[in-house]
Symmetry: C2
Subunit: 135 residues, 2 copies
């Protein structure tokens, strides 16, 4: 992926940074708290290749959406976490959940979560964000 | 782009359909009403290649996000428009506008639109959708 700017349109800008098939899945795993380490991100279910994951993590760090620090319990590995700029992609992720849940007959989205999100979007957003920030 | 399903996650499903650097720009041009014809989509500002545009239009039609019909005023060309499934990507586009406008110092997003969107999201969503549906 290149980062060449295509226009000053805010949608185009966003897609230049995260408009590929993998970046938002990495952000998903960090936002919803299923992963903090490289290996967890690698084993996340969609079968991302290790070279693609490594490249996307470097890119997302370079454009300021995530940061990494050494794990104090195991100095050989890194803990990945979202910056405020990365956390701010959460509303985009939530809208993708609603769209996918509506149109995919095989969706794994939990119906009660989707129903709450539809009914009380701001509250769910605040809750998910607060949990993600704790990490 | 392939359409192979990677998982039943709703975010992954959404990205399988529109998670590339071009599809959401095509949807943007149709939603915000700047384009109805192939040539308009081609000249949209980000410099999409004609073969990429043709492939994306076929794909978006195949997965049910847009439809085309012959222009009654010029039977040689087609009018592209969004289906309800395509229109339902509007909240994703709006969140991308907010994110891009916040983080791009060179953003072309009109400040008064962004301010209204932040303050009164549901109303702006309804307005943009109503305008897009008229076409």
């Amino acid at each position: 992926m290149t980062t060449r700017r295509r226009s000053n349109c805010p949608i185009s800008f966003t897609l230049d940074l995260i408009g590929d098939r993998w970046s938002l899945l990495i952000l998903r795993d960090l936002v919803f708290g299923r992963a903090r380490f490289y290996r967890q991100l690698l084993e996340s279910g969609e079968g991302i290749a290790t070279n693609v994951l490594a490249e996307r993590l470097r890119r997302l760090e370079r454009v300021g959406l995530l940061s990494k620090r050494r794990d104090p319990d195991d100095r050989k590995r890194f803990i990945y976490s979202l910056t405020p700029k990365g956390l701010d992609t959460l509303p985009i992720l939530l809208e993708m959940i609603l769209w996918g849940a509506k149109y995919d007959p095989r969706t794994a989205a939990p119906p009660e979560f989707v129903a709450r999100l539809r009914k009380d979007r701001e509250r769910v957003l605040a809750e998910v964000r607060a949990r993600a920030e704790e990490k």
